[in-house]
């Protein structure tokens, strides 16, 4: 925490990118206030209007205001990607900690499964899982969690193995500390910073994968104003209404840029050992 505050003061890149992240979250939260129209309200006579002062980003096939949809999309897309990263983080880290701390059979089983997942291109499996279970945001999150948790499990496990050998952990064991106490008081706090950095720098990539699944129709379903889904709808009108694919894509791109910048600078602040 102290590092973070120092980072905000001394690291300009971190301060700037944190500001951008807050700005994005602010836009997402303030979407109902900022949006000029209801993102779901269809006005058929306004279908396919090009961008104008009334409809900044034009309108879609149902006459819905594209600008309002992109704004609402911020809250929809951001909250879903944050949920996704949180789920992957929780599942991967806890399995990795269990494997590393208890070792033995638990470790073997978790790590064999993880080996299996890692030797395989994740996206095609995610598409298959999400597709077979039926397109929905929750299924897309489950699918991406299944193919991504191993990265966190491996990282957490290797850190736990290192920390387990340190004197303070052994002292706690000798003093008769219960496993749950040792895990929560001594091990988890020590691995958390690096795990959080990893999660933070993954937000951008996960956003693209989630949007990719929605784009294919295996994620969020209409009429949700989700950016990937909006791109899918815009793709069909590429010729007549290119603004429908331009703005949601730009929104994804900018959000990914902001989170990637933030992730990189967070790494500099919290983990100064790594350079370049």
């Amino acid at each position: 925490m102290e590092n973070l505050i120092n980072g905000l003061k001394n690291n300009r890149a971190f301060a700037f990118s944190s500001f951008l992240v807050l700005l994005l979250i602010g836009i997402a939260l303030a979407a109902p206030l900022l949006a000029p129209y209801d993102p779901l309200e269809a006005t058929m006579k306004n279908a396919y209007l090009p961008p104008s002062s009334e409809h900044l980003f034009g309108t879609d096939k149902l006459g819905r205001d594209n600008f309002s949809r992109v704004l609402y999309g911020a809250s929809y897309s951001l909250s879903s990607v944050l949920l996704l990263v949180a789920v992957i983080f929780a599942v991967g880290t806890s399995l990795g900690v269990l494997a590393g701390y208890f070792g033995g059979k638990v470790d073997t089983v978790i790590m064999r499964i993880s080996d299996m997942m890692i030797s395989f291109p994740g996206m095609i499996l995610a598409i298959a899982i999400a597709g077979i279970m039926g397109g929905s945001l929750i299924n897309a999150i489950i699918a991406l969690t299944i193919v991504t948790w191993t990265k966190y499990a491996r990282l957490a496990r290797s850190m736990v193995l290192k920390i387990k050998k340190r004197d303070f952990v052994e002292a706690a064991v000798v003093n008769g500390g219960k496993p749950t106490h040792i895990l929560w008081k001594h091990i988890v706090p020590n691995i958390l910073p690096l795990m959080i950095i990893t999660a933070a720098s993954d937000i951008g990539a996960m956003m693209m994968e989630l949007a990719g699944l929605s784009f294919l129709g295996f994620g969020s379903q209409p009429p949700a104003p989700e950016w990937g889904l909006m791109l899918n709808e815009g793709r069909q009108q590429l010729q007549t209404a290119p603004w429908l694919m331009f703005f949601p894509g730009l929104a994804i791109f900018l959000t990914v840029v902001v989170f990637n910048l933030w992730g990189d600078s967070l790494r500099d602040v919290l983990d100064p050992r790594q350079e370049d």
């Binding site: 030797s119 095609i124 990719g212 294919l216 840029v257």
Partner: protein, 314 residues
Amino acid sequence: MKNKQIWGRIGQIVLVLLGISFVTFALVMLSPGDPVRQMIAGNEDIVVSQVEIDALRHELGLDKPFIFQYLDWLGRAVQGDFGFSYMVKKPVVEELMQSLPATLILALASTLFMLVFSLPLGIYSAVKRNSVFDYAVRGLTFFGVSIPNFWMGLMLLWIFGLKLGWLPIVGGRVSLETLILPATTLGIVMAAKYTRQVRTTVLEELNQDYVVGARARGMSESYILWREVLPNAMLPLITLLGLSFGNLLGGAAVVEIVFSWPGLGYLAVQSIIYRDFQLVQGIVLWIALMYMVINLVVDISYNRLDPRLRKEGR
């Protein structure tokens, strides 16, 4: 790599394939929808009684317990029979073989595109570290890795297909004209990633002691770069190349959809939409197999190329 290790890896590949097939098989079982009704759904004018449905279910072995169904399927799959696709009314294997060349062509073309740009850019920006050029390359690659490839594809399609009219917008066939845009889309996004990796690898190599030694002995910078640094840097780069080529096989699905490129990814998405799960399963397993075999081949060649590993017989 010793033969024993290679066999170990092949064993691992078999295990992964078993695991993946089991998972996808279980998912299909759990998924909504009845495959028997799905099969009959094509002929709506025929009225089918429950008795006939049950008979068909029995004939297909779908009334057996899950694990027996899986073993039945596995037994056939081992013999190369991945079932019948009712979407295209063909054996799954036949359809796979038909889509495979398109995916391989796209993967090769985009890898070529990637290499042409990322090798010179990555090496030069490592050599000229912290120069304007280096910063420009780093900035560009940063944006490159942040662009969703499907958006990039749509933008290229819109600009070069619709606005400029240089390239066809209708896909669905394999030709040089239709290849350019999807290969460029994938190539740009991959080049951004790979340029960074090339730069880091070359930088690491440039910081080695032997480079300092060579400089101290008065060797020219270009000699050091071409004869010492680059050959050493090539080894890790080949591994990364193998990984990204493998990822293309699966990750290209979204781009194949954007351009209606008739490859495996396109087929996978179509077959999921039509709920033709025999086909989905075949594609997933096939891609997994190719990915793992490519990585095994890369690892073997890596070991053959690196004299240190060769000598120790690892």
